[in-house]
Symmetry: C2
Subunit: 313 residues, 2 copies
């Protein structure tokens, strides 16, 4: 496949997310199962050691380890830091199998459906996300300006995004999650193939859900959670919340509402918010019960398509 | 609470099943949240080390470790074996806080709803299960005669059963799973309180789903799975299957049906089966994609109530 642009497709960046690794195994054995659209697709298990151990990670979250200062520090020799370096050395800019685009396949215990995550507003990323949304109608979580959550894999490639599908428990393979992951990946590859030959046509605009912040469970002075998510919120990812909507259920039967959070956390009152990653099991340790977004329409700029085409030239 | 029978209530026998431990923490802080029906309820985290590590277990599944020969072997000093001994020494027959009844609260990634698991046909267990089913209508999985799955906690107490609620991902607390667990536990305690004073009235019969066997994913010669569960089976716990119903989806799009399994595994053809624990994440390592049961109606025997009352006298 000489001359075709390479696209890095990563599965199992978190070792307990098993659906994409299952797909990858099938695609390796029977390449015809994946519509590659003429691209040179490089299939990689992100964190093979964590995958073998059926754990999210061994020492630290690989998908928070792609931090230039961390990777440049020779005293850092943990499993995930070494794996991040290895992936970058081989598939990153200047590597022997340099890929202009990285697509990172994840699953979640939250009811995110089939969705995309974009980190910041790089023109090529927005072009690709807009193109996939135009094909499949997927919601897009625009993650930006969060100093607590940094070091994502795809940020270190010239263009990249996460395909995030749920709900599915950690450790499980389910056919519907696999199917959705494959559909998104094929839409991404089809869009990249069009961009490469100058045929990508973007819609006039795309809808994004811009990250506003993450909300932890209410806790007592000892740090123990004193509430669960309100049952009405479970499974309601991407569905808008108003200030009167209950968010947390306390053991005594009382409830906290979105407006109570706003007051606590200096958010604008009376604003509608769209929650995402509601009850993602892996985010408990990060102190995240869910994240809040605001919905925005962004006009697609012709420069986005050019930026993507330039990368694939 | 002198004189009231003790009931052992265990949460977190598997350290990544977080709902019951959450309830237990609330009940310890605010005992009025749990209707105890005058019983001396002993609340225990089953596997505190695994719970702290947010893992199912540290060295071996605690809920397969209650094997007399294993516990009697002085060379066995692993975390779970020691914890099993400790629970039995304190709360088992003859212990300083001996409990005639043990109730073990579990959750599952399978869509089991709110359900009970009974191990074998001990009269007191059947009395308690029938009484809970009569109150709440819960399905009962009668687990018996499986040489590969043995050593369950509740088997070592004179009376005991598992309350099993799902679906919920490992590591997650959700309000609806907690509510269902609490309702089942309170129904169990109410039934025990009635049995103690000779007021337990059983229905004429109970419905059980008797364990027939467990089915692994199809695998290649190297041991790798070559199929997923058929998407039509996911979430269909307790719903009957006929021989023509698809069970597994292979990567090439073909399907295996229940009748194909029967032929492979010497099951009676043309039998209907009721699947349970479909895609329980923790059972992958045990080679179980789901289990098959047959539905039976058992006439309730007056001796069951007497057996339970005798234990609580």
């Amino acid at each position: 496949m000489t001359g075709a642009p390479r696209v890095l497709v990563v599965a199992g960046t978190h070792g307990n997310e098993r659906n994409a690794p299952w797909l990858l195994q099938q695609w390796r054995q029977r390449p015809e199962l994946l519509q590659r659209h003429g691209l040179d697709v490089q299939l990689e298990i992100g964190n093979p050691e964590a995958f073998a151990a059926q754990r999210r990670y061994i020492e630290r979250d690989l998908n928070r380890s792609f931090l230039p200062e961390l990777l440049a520090d020779p005293s850092q020799q943990g499993v995930e830091v070494q794996r991040a370096r290895q992936l970058l050395e081989r598939f990153g800019p200047g590597g022997p199998a340099a890929c202009p685009v990285a697509l990172d396949l994840h699953s979640t215990t939250a009811a995110m459906g089939n969705s995309l995550v974009v980190y910041g507003r790089r023109p090529a990323d927005l072009a690709l996300a807009a193109a996939i949304q135009h094909r499949l109608g997927l919601p897009i979580y625009l993650h930006e300006a969060d100093a607590f959550q940094v070091g994502y894999l795809v940020e270190r490639w010239p263009c990249g995004l996460v395909i995030e599908v749920g709900p599915v428990a950690q450790g499980l393979v389910t056919a519907s999650i696999c199917l959705q992951s494959q559909l998104s990946l094929e839409a991404a590859l089809a869009s990249l193939a069009e961009a490469r030959v100058g045929r990508l046509r973007l819609p006039a605009s795309l809808i994004v859900h811009r990250h506003c912040g993450s909300i932890d469970l209410p806790r007592n002075a000892g740090g123990d959670a004193i509430a669960t998510l309100d049952p009405s919120l479970q499974g309601r990812d991407w569905q808008s919340l108003g200030v009167g909507d209950p968010i947390f259920a306390l053991a005594d039967g009382s409830r906290l509402r979105l407006g109570d959070l706003h007051a606590d956390q200096g958010e604008r009152s009376a604003a509608r918010r769209w929650p995402v990653f509601i009850n993602e099991a892996a985010y408990g340790e990060k102190g995240i019960a869910f994240s809040l977004t605001e919905r925005q329409r962004l006009a697609c700029d012709p420069s986005w398509t050019e930026a993507l085409a330039d990368l694939l030239a």
